[in-house]
Amino acid sequence: MSASAAGKIEEVFRREAGRVLATLIRLLGDFDLAEEAQQDAFAAAIEQWPTRGIPDNPRAWLISAGRNKAIDRIRREVFFREKIFDRELAAAQADMLAEIDESDEAIFGDDRLRLIFTCCHPALNDEAQIALTLREVCGLPTQAVARAFLVSEETMAQRLVRAKRKIRDAGIPYETPDAAVLDQRIDGVLAVVYGVFTEGYAATAGTQLIDVALCAEAIRLGRLLDTLLPGNTAVMGLLALMLLHDARSSSRVSDAGDVVLLDDQDRSQWDQSEISEGLALVDKSLTARGRVSPYAVQAAIAALHVGAGDKQATDWPQIVGLYEVLLRLHSTPVIELNHAVAVSMVDGAARALDLVNSLAARGRVTQYHLLHAARGRFLQQLGRIEEAREAYGTALKTAALEPERRFLAARIADI
């Protein structure tokens, strides 16, 4: 096989893998069986395509090859007959006979959406939801998923097996939820996508600040959801938020791998195409009918940051106002903290310190290093140097990520 032919086949696999797997799961009613079928289909393609050429509709070819291989397997191995339920076997055979229009994009879209809702089902624990989504929807190898969670490949493989077993044994459906519960379930899906993004954007531990691959996967998922559920305000809001953050990612880290604060970032490095796409989505989300999504409000805040020509032009009073909207919609300690930082830019450090002290007094986030770092900064601005040093010290003790630790150590040295 020539290198260019191999390249073309590779490219088809990359493009079609997600759709093929999602549809095979529906047809076969079993994750493991579908994954094996997908591999079998790819293996058959590598064998046959170089001599016979790539078929006109490679996706349909791969799906029917995968389905036929799976049914061969079921027939051949008693093991599988016990493993999958009789009704699933019957369904797989019925589908084999049924003529589906393999070129119908809507069917594949629906299958991918089903797969996302199944992987992000609330009956699975949060970590399992993220891991399954990365593995099954994004098609990341188990090893890469394991790296994202800082566990061994074997541990991750076991977690994935457990999650898939629960899907099968507890009867978690392979279905897009009814309209009545769709909004609620979408929130869960978006939390998973945002979880993938934030883990990529500010890893919780390790030596690297940004895991570009995870950010890219999260944005890809966001775009996919926006295609599958067009006009959904929460989906648009989250996609906008991720794009506006991602646009700044190359300027967030210095060449030496150190943290660069927003004020000091080189604005010429920001990705203008992501920014304009993000800004358009914020507008669309906030002006569309339906509920106001907290993601869209956060995206609007990010838009004010990137929209300012330079740091002096940042519209802090409006940012404070948006944080107050956000606190009413969806209050979390992290949002309270960010609100306090914005307040410090408008009303000064004394008022901001009150807010942060009140947050700390409620004891919800005492292990969160950024809370102590913010306290340190406010105290320093107020000239309370000893207390500032102490607060930065606590921040350093609770921070786990190397670049952030270096940043905090530099702050302490500067005082």
């Binding site: 009956a123 044994d169 009867g171 978690i172 459906p173």
Partner: protein, 117 residues
């Protein structure tokens, strides 16, 4: 699939509802049970006497030891159950959410693992 819905609640909190409150809840249970019988989802169901009436049996070295009380002291106690037939977990959890006790306690939803012979 068949699912067992285990109804847990804090018995002291239940008693605190008072006679009128308990009567109202019992009426709601009658209503709920009727609805799942009519929908063809009901297979079995009962309430249980309080955990103070429970005894636990263990057989060790061929000898049965009987002790007072449930296996573990917990904040919520098993107070009843339904055995239902549902299409999948989403349908089962939707039924569980309609159990009156879900509003004050919690419902554990467990798929039945059929014996295969």
């Amino acid at each position: 699939m068949n699912y067992l819905l285990l109804i847990y609640s804090n018995e002291a909190e239940m008693m605190a509802l008072g006679e009128a409150g308990l009567k109202k809840m019992s009426d709601e249970y009658m209503e709920f049970t009727k609805s799942i019988v009519q929908a063809g989802q009901f297979k079995a169901g009962d309430r249980l006497k309080p955990a103070s009436t429970a005894s636990t049996v263990r057989v060790r070295n061929g000898k049965a030891a009987i002790t007072d009380g449930p296996f573990a002291e917990t904040r919520e106690q098993l107070g009843g159950y339904y055995l239902i037939e549902a299409k999948n977990l989403d349908e089962a959890t939707a039924i569980a959410a309609r159990i009156p006790g879900a509003r004050i306690g919690s419902i554990e939803v467990r798929p039945i693992w059929p014996l295969t012979g």
